[in-house]
Structures are given as C-alpha cells and as structure tokens.
C-alpha cells in the first residue's frame, strides 16, 4: 500500500506531466526512497496508481540500473568501475571491499548493512578512484581510508 505521503508526492509529480504514467519513474523513486527498493507489491501499487499494468511498469523499472528490484542492504556502495578509476586503480579498492565486507558485486552483507554494486563513471574522474555510499561521494580513495569510511555507516 502506498502511504498518504507517498501518494501526495506522486500526485505532485503527476501534476507536472501530461499523463499519470509519465510520472512513473518519479513514483518508483519515491517508493524506493522509502523502502530502499521496489518490491513486487510496491511495483503493483505504483502501477495501479499511475494507471499502468505491472508488466508495463516493470518494463520501465528493469531498464534502469538504479531502480532496485531486489532487496538491498541499509547502505548501497556504488563503486565506480569506469575508465579513469580503472587507470587510477579502482581494482585495488574493489578487492579490499570484497575482503572487508566478504561480499561480491551484487551481494549484501550478512548483517544487511551493505550492498556492493559496480557503477559507471561517477563524474569525478579528476579525483579517481571514487565511490558513493548512499548520497555521499568519496574521492581520491586509498585502501587505507576504507575502514574509516565504512565505519560511518551502521
């Protein structure tokens, strides 16, 4: 069930576009903001709300890589794996994260704290390597900094 607040926010997005379904990505974002991901039930709720079928909405949802259709941890680590970070050695960071968190790409730590995902260029190539945790960007990374960074997130 969509909450009143979610509906309110979605209504606002709908007011900006010609047809409710045009606001479907915004609506998915709103739901994901609250739940961390978009479950099948949420997807159906959103679909009903904006007048789409589940299939039609899922078609949109699954196209984009930042709409999560599977549960994620409390914090999502997006590690930039694009070219500048490659040149600057993001692979070392990746190995370190695998080791520290004991998860591979696409996995969530056993305690549900982190999900690790690769991500394309974060647009901060002059400060490579970089990663993002939730809304926070970390640049000029070294393996040594990782513990301190990770410790900020519970």
């Amino acid at each position: 069930m969509l909450t009143a607040e979610e509906k309110h926010q979605i209504d606002h997005e709908i007011s900006l576009v010609p047809a409710p379904k045009n606001a479907c990505i915004e609506a998915l974002k709103i739901v994901q903001q609250n739940h961390g991901w978009v479950s099948d039930e949420s997807l159906k709720d959103v679909a009903d709300y904006v007048g789409m079928s589940s299939a039609e909405l899922d078609s949109v949802a699954t196209f984009y890589n930042l709409i999560f259709r599977r549960p994620v941890g409390r914090h999502v680590i997006l590690l930039c794996d694009s070219i500048s970070c490659y040149v600057m050695g993001y692979e070392g960071i990746k190995e370190a994260l695998h080791e520290k968190l004991n998860i591979q790409y696409g996995q969530t730590t056993a305690d549900g704290r982190f999900t690790l995902l690769p991500n394309c260029c974060l647009g901060t190539c002059d400060c490579a390597p970089a990663l993002m945790i939730d809304n926070d960007l970390y640049r000029n990374l070294t393996v040594e900094q990782l513990d301190e960074i990770l410790n900020k997130y519970t």
């Binding site: 196209f63 997006l78 490659y86 040149v87 600057m88 647009g123 002059d126």
Partner: protein, 433 residues
C-alpha cells in the same frame, strides 16, 4: 584570459545566490532579450556566434534551433531540456558548472527557451550529482521567486516553467532522444531521426535538448555579442571550453580555456604533466567514445576541425590519459565493458556486437586470445559505424577500439602470442593445447 563560464565559480565555496549573481551581472541577458529582442533575433545571434554544442557532436546551436517550428500555428507547448546527464566516462565538466553556478544555467535556459518560445523546461540531471541537485533546486526556487521563471516573466508576457528531473541510471539517457523517452517515463531507448526532436520531441511536441555547457554560454553571447564570443577562441572555433584531464597526471582537473588551446598546453601547463614514473602513451581527447590520439598529436589545438582531422573527436573535451603502465588491452576492455553494459538493447549490432567485443578483449587480456579474434574486432569496428546502428552509442564505442587497434596493435598481438598480459604480474597462461 577571459573565463566567462567559470568566473564566478570558486572551488570549495557555495555557488552564488540569486542576489549575489544579479550583483555580478546575472540575468542581464534575460532582461535584454525580453525587452529588446525577438526570438528570431536571439536565434540569429547565437547562430552568428558559431556556438557549437558542447554535448559532444559539436553542431551549431543556433542552426539546431532554427528547425523548431515558430509562429502561431506551431504545436504547443514547446520544450527545452538541459542535458545534464553527463555519464560519459572521463567526463566531469558539466558538474563544475552545475555545482558551481546553477543560476548561470537557468539564465541560459531562459535565453534558449525564449529563442524557441518554449514554455516548459527541464533539467535532466544524472542521479549521482547530489550536490548539483540540491543547488539547482534552490536556484530554481529563487528564480521563480524573483520572477525569472513562471508566468509573464518580467512583465514581458513570456512564460516559462522549469523542473528538475533526476535520472535513475543508464548512459543512454544522455542521448537526446533517449533522454526524452526517459523524461516521459519510458525505457530510454533512442528514437529514430527524422523526425527530429525539434519537430516531434518531448510528448510529441517541438523540443530542444542542449548540453549544460552550451546553455551556459548563452547569457554571455547575449550580453557581449557574437563577435566577442568568436574572438574568445584561438583558432577556427568560437568561445571558451571546459577542458579536463584525468589519469596519471600530476594535477588532474577541469579548466576553462580558449577554444584551440593545444593539447600539450593543457596536459603540461594545467595538468602538470605525467606523474613521476609514468610515461605518456596516448589519450582520448573528449571522453570514452573518442579515438585515441598519441604523442604526434600533442601540439594540435583542441578545436572541432583540428581534432577531427587527426581522426578523433573533440567530444566533451575531457581527456583520459593512457600511461605506459596501464595495459592498452585492459584499458580498451574497460571501455567496452562499459559500452556493452550501457547498450539499451534496441538494435542488433550494438546489443550483440559490443558484448562479443568485450568477451574477445577479455580473452585477449587473460592470454586466451587467438589471432582470428583481431579479425572479429576489425569487422566490428567496420560495421558498428554511424548509420549502421540505431544511435551513436555503438559507433562511439568503436572509436577507442579502432584507434587502439591502430596505435597499439602490437600490444594486442603480444597478448595473443605470449598468452599473457605483459602488464600483468600473474603467471603466463598456458594454452591447454
């Protein structure tokens, strides 16, 4: 040296508020056009200034606008979209403008919207730019309050609404027609052209999509004139340009410099030259989808025709450096992995060809490459060209590949013959007969 775009941007400091921005001359161009210029005059001025789109393709902005139907019987509403998706690997120039001076973008958007008589505008911002999102939201709010946006702007009768849309990932969203689909809440597949967005764009209405940097140039052109703008450039091209450098250089970064500044100058004077212990091997001059340039090209001026003549493209003007301690095969593999993954999957050559290329490069990189693999790569570079695929993603992907095969072919062959990546510390792979 004049730096119109970045003059008010101070790294580490919050962007100018609307009041501060007005104090340094902000929104003058809006007053000027609304008071004294027809949309057609604005279009003509911009065309005359020879401003070329900074999103990568380098098409004359005024000319692009001129295909929008004007007059009373043109379809309404018309739309203007600022392309702030910036997901091209190695590119981080729009971020500087977005985070550093959002009012400049808004001002530019008002100019562009007025020129094509658009009444609704969007900033299509990539998701990762959280700071920019915050700043733009504030700036749009301020602009509404000050009457630069909304109904009857400055009493001129011109109306413009502006909304911020943040994307949910996918490089494709930067391609202007795919961007429109994303804005409509659809899958970001590109659209066939014709019809061009100017005729049937967002929601089937006339639409212009311009890059952030392109739009940021507009207030200055309106304020200072076409001639002034042209003279900013050192060579054939007009204006300044945000150039950037990333990779193993001493001081990577982004700088506003005159069009036509040479690559060497940018590399050595601004990026500080190669880091100690690293040698220069090549560079991609304007993001991941441009062809390699090498030593012999370093004295070329960075402008559209010169870079094109050298077999590459200006692209976004943000360079990625390949150094001698990075394997060119691995470098290319990283790029192709990106492109294969970001293909929307709509057309066959891109959807199926890029993963194939990636698999081959992976095999070569692991030492499992075969001589015939190079032939397969060659036919991909030949047939994934412009026009053969549905949009420019795959042709863009082929640019670094084809030039890598040209300039670094021996490195590819060594991998194949030695069954081992010469850069890798791992043991050579032994073929199992």
């Amino acid at each position: 040296m004049e730096k119109p775009l970045t003059q008010h941007i101070v790294p580490g400091r919050a962007p100018l508020s609307l009041k501060e921005y007005e104090k340094v001359g902000g929104y003058q161009s809006v007053r000027k056009i609304l008071k004294g210029m027809t949309p057609q005059e604005v279009q003509a001025l911009v065309k005359e200034s020879d401003l070329k789109g900074r999103g990568g393709a380098g098409f004359n902005t005024g000319l692009k606008w001129s295909f929008v139907p004007m007059g009373d019987d043109a379809a309404t509403p018309k739309y203007l979209v600022a392309n702030a998706d910036e997901m091209e690997p190695g590119t981080f120039k729009d971020r500087v403008l977005l985070e550093g001076n959002p009012h400049q973008l808004i001002e530019g958007m008002i100019v562009a919207a007025y020129a094509i008589q658009a009444s609704i505008s969007y900033v299509f911002l990539r998701w990762a730019y959280k700071v920019a999102a915050r700043e733009i939201t504030i700036a749009i709010q301020e602009a509404y309050e000050a009457g630069y946006l909304g109904q009857n702007i400055l009493g001129s009768g011109f109306n413009l609404d502006m909304h911020l849309h943040t994307g949910v990932g996918r490089y494709m969203c930067g391609e202007e027609t795919a961007l429109l689909n994303a804005l409509e809440g659809k899958r970001a597949n590109p659209r066939a052209k014709p019809p061009f967005p100017q005729v049937s764009g967002l929601f089937g209405k006339p639409t212009i999509v311009n890059n952030v940097e392109t739009l940021c140039c507009l207030p200055h052109i309106v304020n200072n004139g076409a001639e002034w703008f042209k003279k900013l450039g050192l060579t054939a091209d007009a204006g300044t340009k945000l150039f950037g450098v990333s990779g193993r250089v001493k001081t990577p970064g982004c700088w506003e410099l005159p069009m036509g500044t040479t690559i060497r100058e940018i590399l050595e004077d601004y990026a500080g030259g190669m880091q100690d212990g690293y040698l220069f091997r090549g560079l991609l001059p304007g993001g991941a989808s441009t062809d390699f340039l090498v030593e012999e090209h370093l004295d070329l001026p960075m402008d559209y025709p010169s870079i094109q003549a050298a077999g590459s493209r200006m692209g976004t003007g943000t360079m990625i450096i390949l150094d001698d301690q990075t394997c060119p095969v691995g470098f290319t593999l990283n790029l192709q992995h990106f492109f294969a993954q970001e293909s929307c999957g709509f057309c066959t050559p891109c959807r199926e060809g890029l993963p194939w290329v990636e698999r081959i490069l992976l095999a070569i990189d692991k030492g499992e490459g075969k001589p015939e693999h190079l032939l397969t790569l060659d036919f991909h570079t030949k047939y994934l060209g412009p026009g053969n695929t549905f949009c420019a993603l795959a042709p863009g992907a082929m640019e670094p590949l084809q030039s890598a095969l040209k300039y670094f072919r021996e490195d590819f062959e060594r991998h194949i013959h030695e069954h081992h990546c010469p850069w890798s510390k791992a043991k050579a792979w032994q073929p199992s007969i």
